[in-house]
Structure formats: C-alpha cells, structure tokens
C-alpha cells in the first residue's frame, strides 16, 4: 500500500498519515505520550494491588507472632522464623487432609475428563440424529439448576455422604468445558476420521487412536481446568463430609479461619506454642495450600488462556 502511495506526489501526504509507525500509525502526539505514562502507572498499580496480598501473607507466615499483632508486618517478615511451618507439618490431620485433596483431585479429574471427552465427541458429530437435544440437555443446566436442598437430599439418599463420590460425581461434567471441547472437536478435519473409517476403524477406535492423539492440547487444558477447580473446591466436602479425616485441605483451612477447629484438631499445635500458633498459623496454612498452584501456575497459565479463548471462538 505504501509503495503505491509514494509514487504519486499527493500520495505522500496520505502516506504520512497511514504509514504504520507502531502498530496503529501516526507519530505519537504529546497527548498520547502522556497517556502512555498514565497507562503505565495504572497498570503498575494493578500489578501491585494484585501481588500485595500474596507477599503480605508470605511475610506473615515467616514472621514472629508478636510483630503481627503489633501490626508491623507488611512486605518483609519480621522476627524471621519457620517454627509455624514445622508445627503445621507435624500436624497429622493437616497431612491427612492434604493427601485427601490430592486423591480427590486426581480421581475427580480422571472421571471428569473421560465423561467430558465422550460427550463432547458425540456432540461434535453434526450428522448425528438428536444432536440438538443432546446439546440442549447439557446447556439448559447452565441456566437452571435443582438447587442446594434437592441436591443435598439426593446425595444423602444415594448414600454418598462421607464418601469420595459426593465430591467427584456431582461435578463430573462442567458444561463450559464441554462446549470448549465440542468446539475443538468440530474444528478437526473430517477427512482424517473418514479415512480411518475407510481403513476399518469403528467409532471407539477413531476416538481413541485418531481424535484423542490429535486433541492432546485441548485435553491438557481440560485436565488443568478440572484439576484446579477440584483442588480449590471446598463446599461439597464441607456439606457432605462429617469426619475430620475425610476433609480436603481447603476445609481444614476454612475451619481454621472460622475458628471452628476444636482443641482436638490443632491440639498438638496449640500445646506446642499457643501464642505462636494463632495468626501465623493461618498464614502458613494459606501458603501451603496455595503453593502447588503457585508452583505450576507460570507453566500452565498460557494453556488456560488458550482454553478460554477456544471457548470464546464458539461464542
């Protein structure tokens, strides 16, 4: 475009206007430079506000209780010590609950992935009779749900209280994830599956040997989505688990902040050092519960982002 314009004399003026300098053309005006500075300041502010709570909690977890109570801990730990970490690590209930979280997350994620993949694959077949109804059945549940009480009655009467199934099964398919996967499957080239069919593979074979290997990226994204949501979940366990040693670590933390953890639970800790335990203990528990997510976050973040965008393409 610019070559055409530069040949003509009058075109130079046009060229001056539209020549892309930066992404959006025109020499930056003074007002725009001011804007850039203001923008940088605002964004820095957003970063600081977002990160501050994390750093603050970390600082608290490593500080001496006395400094916290005096309100002197902000970004840097005061009276550095890791005693509370040691205390919490020695609490067997914390570890039991931590292990529960891991187990629940793994089992739930596996079930969720299998169910979601199967259904999304079926939904992605445009020629399938009754496909519209199958989609509708899933999508309707996004806008209308049975509600807390009927769900509770159902889970209880199915005898799933105090079992892993109360956490795993009722959340086995997220409709949002389902639609993302469906959109992805629909974008796969049909010819590949046709060729496989001609070569004598049946539907199961096509799904297992052709479609799934081609969908590693989206399946990985879904694993992450599900794993994080199960790792973070607390309410179903809170509702359906009566026994302390069945709880996930999120409920352990909840009980800690709600002050509901009785003496028998933090007993070991409280005896060890009652004063030290209170405020830092919460910070340490937050840090240890968040740690796995914070550790994998930098590596998996872009998959999440692409996953969400994948869902957006469909709209």
């Amino acid at each position: 475009m610019s070559t055409d314009a530069s040949t003509v004399d009058a075109g130079k003026a046009v060229d001056e206007i539209i020549r892309p300098r930066g992404r959006r053309g025109i020499r930056p005006t003074r007002g725009y430079r001011v804007f850039q500075v203001v923008n940088a300041i605002i964004l820095t502010g957003v970063v600081i506000v977002t990160l501050y709570p994390f750093i603050n909690i970390l600082a608290r977890s490593l500080s001496d209780e006395a400094y916290i109570i005096a309100g002197k801990v902000s970004l840097v730990p005061r009276g550095f010590n890791v005693d509370t970490y040691k205390l919490l690590m020695s609490d067997s209930l914390f570890w039991t609950n931590y292990r529960n979280t891991v187990v629940y997350t793994v089992v739930a994620t596996i079930i969720a992935i299998v169910m979601t993949t199967c259904y999304a694959y079926v939904l992605s077949k445009r020629h399938l009779k009754g496909r519209g109804a199958l989609v509708g059945i899933a999508v309707f549940t996004m806008f209308f749900s049975g509600g807390l009480i009927p769900n509770y009655v159902l889970i209880t009467s199915l005898g799933m209280k105090n079992t892993i199934w109360a956490i795993v099964l009722p959340n086995a398919i997220s409709v949002f994830n389902l639609l993302v996967m469906k959109a992805f499957f629909e974008s796969l080239p049909v010819e590949l599956e046709e060729a496989a069919a001609v070569d004598g593979l049946n539907t199961y074979g096509i799904l297992l040997r052709i479609v799934i290997p081609l969908s590693k990226a989206v399946i990985a994204t879904m694993v992450l989505f599900y794993a994080v949501s199960f790792w973070n979940s607390w309410f179903s366990a809170f509702l359906y688990m009566d026994k302390q040693d069945l709880l996930p670590v999120t409920v352990y933390l909840r009980n800690l902040i709600a002050g509901a953890t009785g003496a028998e639970n933090v007993g070991a800790i409280a005896e060890a050092d009652e004063v030290q335990a209170e405020a830092t203990l919460k910070a340490v528990t937050i840090v240890l519960t968040t740690l796995p997510i914070l550790l994998v976050y930098p590596f998996v973040q872009r998959y999440f982002v692409s996953g969400v965008m994948l869902g957006a393409v469909k709209g």
Partner: protein, 332 residues
C-alpha cells in the same frame, strides 16, 4: 468452521441407506421412525458414548430439579425423599411474608447490582489499557499477574481478605498511619459491601480481560486506517472502532453476568459473613443454607431456592431476548 455439507459426510455414514433430507415421504412419522432406527443402526457406537454422561445429567442435574417438589410438600429429614404430603404454596407464602426474606432479597439485589456495576465494566477498561501497551513483555507480565487470583480457592481468598482486614492487618496499618483508629471491617455491616465487591474485583479483574483481549485482536486493522484518514484521533478510534468491535463479546458476557446476578458469590459470602454483618451480608442463598442445614427446614429452604433459580432463569431469558431485539447479539 466446516460447511454443513462436509459435516454430512462424517465418518460412520453409509450414504446409500441414509434418507435424503429433501425427500420426506408421504407419512412423515413413518419416515421419522425409520430415520431414528437407521440413525441408531448407523451411529449406535456414538450413542453408546453418550450413555454415561446422559446418566450424569439425568441423576445429578435433572433429578434435583424434580426434587424441587419438596418445596410444595412437607419434608421430614429421614423420611420420604419427595416429602410426606402436599402443602401447596404454603412455603411460598411463608417466605413472601417473611421479613428476613425481604431483607436478604434486598441484600442479594444490592450485592448483585454492585458487583455487576463494578466487575463488568472494569475488565473492559483494563483490556483497552492493556491493548495500548506497546512493550510485549510488559503486557504479558501484567496479564500473567492479573490472572493469578482467579486460580485461588475461594477459601484462600476469604482467608486473605480476613488477614488483610484484621485489626493488625495491612489496611488498618494504613488507617493508623493516616491517623485514624483501627476499624474492625468484618464486624461492621456498613463495610461488608465494599469488602465483598473489592475482593470480587481483585479476583476477577484480570481474568475478565481475556475474552476482550481475544476479541480486540480480531478487529480489522483497515477500520483503524479508515478512521484515521477520516481524521479520528486515538480516542475517537477507540470509541468508533474498538468498542463496536468488542460489542458482541460485551453483550454475551453481560447476559451471562445478569444470569448469575441473583446467585451472588454464595460461597464467598458464607465464608466472610458473621451474625454481626447479617444486616447487609446475608443473601438469599446463605439464608436458604441456614434454613436448610441449621434449622432443618428443608421444604422452606427448597421453596426459596426454587424461587431464586426461577428468577435467575427469567433474568437470562429476558436479557437474551432484549439483546437479540436491540443489539442483535444473543446467546442462542
């Protein structure tokens, strides 16, 4: 996106015995029946993959919907799952004349409204600001950081809020540094809405920008060029090109937000509130929770829940219909 014609030739189709779409026979029901039988014979393996997921939806999503009949029946814990006998609209009348219900209804509307007002537009603003950043690295860094809170458990967010707002927390350090007295934020009803909405914003702001940023990349560069030739400055370009460009995304997300309007962060309120802050913090779902599980009044709670769900559904449907008529964008 493949055209429908190619999709018709998906694998497992044996074209010869497929009914041609145009040639519906004289008796439509008969063709339909034969169509189904053929579809099953051809695609039974596909249908078989849908069985478990369908069971899931049936048991864990649709059965509870039916379970809502206990809102119209007398339910006793341990008794019949669907209740003992019909009581008609007794529980509905009960909450309609329950002053606490109207209090929590107002709280729900106010919290939902404030959240919508704050947490819907600000991600758009942030996305526009991020879009103006030239330095790729900086942009990515800001994005990565702002997404982070989205990945935290609500329990952790609530715990962080409590730590930051505690008497010895950062916010009160600032208050004291400014010469004020420490405020027990979580014990005062007048603070709850601020606390709730700002924590919600903290957690959702960055994540909310993703879809807008994606939409921004799809806007045609030529439109900007045309606008510049017409003499539009940057602000005008934003107003006349960028914003209309992301309008479909905005409308879609607005409809979805309106749909969850009544279901304001149940879990977060449950974790953050306490009897002292009930006057502003108690929402329909938390009231329902207490009615159901602390007072064991299941039928009453179910009636409230059903009411809430119906409002939610109505809101989505009407928002969708309105936007289809006015802006031409809709969810379905």
């Amino acid at each position: 996106m493949s055209a429908p014609s190619t999709a018709d030739q998906a694998p497992r189709t044996r074209s010869p015995d497929r009914p041609e779409p145009g040639s519906t026979g004289r008796s439509r029901s008969r063709t339909a029946r034969r169509g189904w039988r053929q579809a099953f014979r051809r695609d039974w393996q596909l249908y078989s993959l849908a069985i478990l997921p369908l069971l899931f939806f049936l048991i864990f999503r649709y059965l509870p919907m039916i379970g809502n009949v206990i809102a119209f029946r007398r339910f006793q814990p341990g008794g019949n799952v669907l209740g003992e006998y019909w009581v008609g609209l007794r529980y509905v009348k009960m909450f309609l004349s329950d002053p606490t219900f109207w209090n929590v209804f107002t709280n729900t509307a106010v919290l939902g409204g404030l959240t919508l007002l704050v947490c819907f537009p600000l991600p758009i603003v942030l996305a526009l600001l991020l879009n103006e950043v030239r330095a790729r690295r900086l942009k990515r860094f800001v994005q990565s950081v702002s997404y982070l809170p989205h990945f935290l458990s609500i329990v952790i967010v609530a715990a962080m809020v409590m730590q930051l707002l505690s008497i010895d927390g950062t916010v009160n350090q600032l208050v004291r540094a400014a010469g004020g007295d420490a405020v027990p934020f979580l014990q005062q009803p007048e603070w709850f809405r601020t606390v709730y909405v700002s924590s919600e914003l903290w957690q959702t702001l960055g994540w909310g920008t993703i879809l807008y940023l994606a939409a921004l990349t799809t806007i045609d560069e030529n439109l900007y060029e045309a606008a510049r030739i017409d003499g539009a400055n940057r602000w005008r370009q934003t107003w006349h090109v960028t914003l209309p460009g992301i309008r479909p995304t905005m409308v879609t997300l607005l409809i979805l937000n309106i749909g969850t309007f009544m279901a304001v962060g149940f879990e977060k309120v449950l974790l953050l509130y306490n009897p002292l802050t009930y006057p502003t913090a108690d929402v329909i779902s938390t009231y329902l929770f207490r009615m159901g599980f602390q007072s064991s009044n299941f039928s009453y709670a179910a009636a409230i829940g059903l009411f809430e769900a119906v409002i939610g559904l109505t809101l989505v449907l009407s928002a969708n219909a309105i936007s289809r008529r006015t802006v031409g964008t809709s969810l379905w």
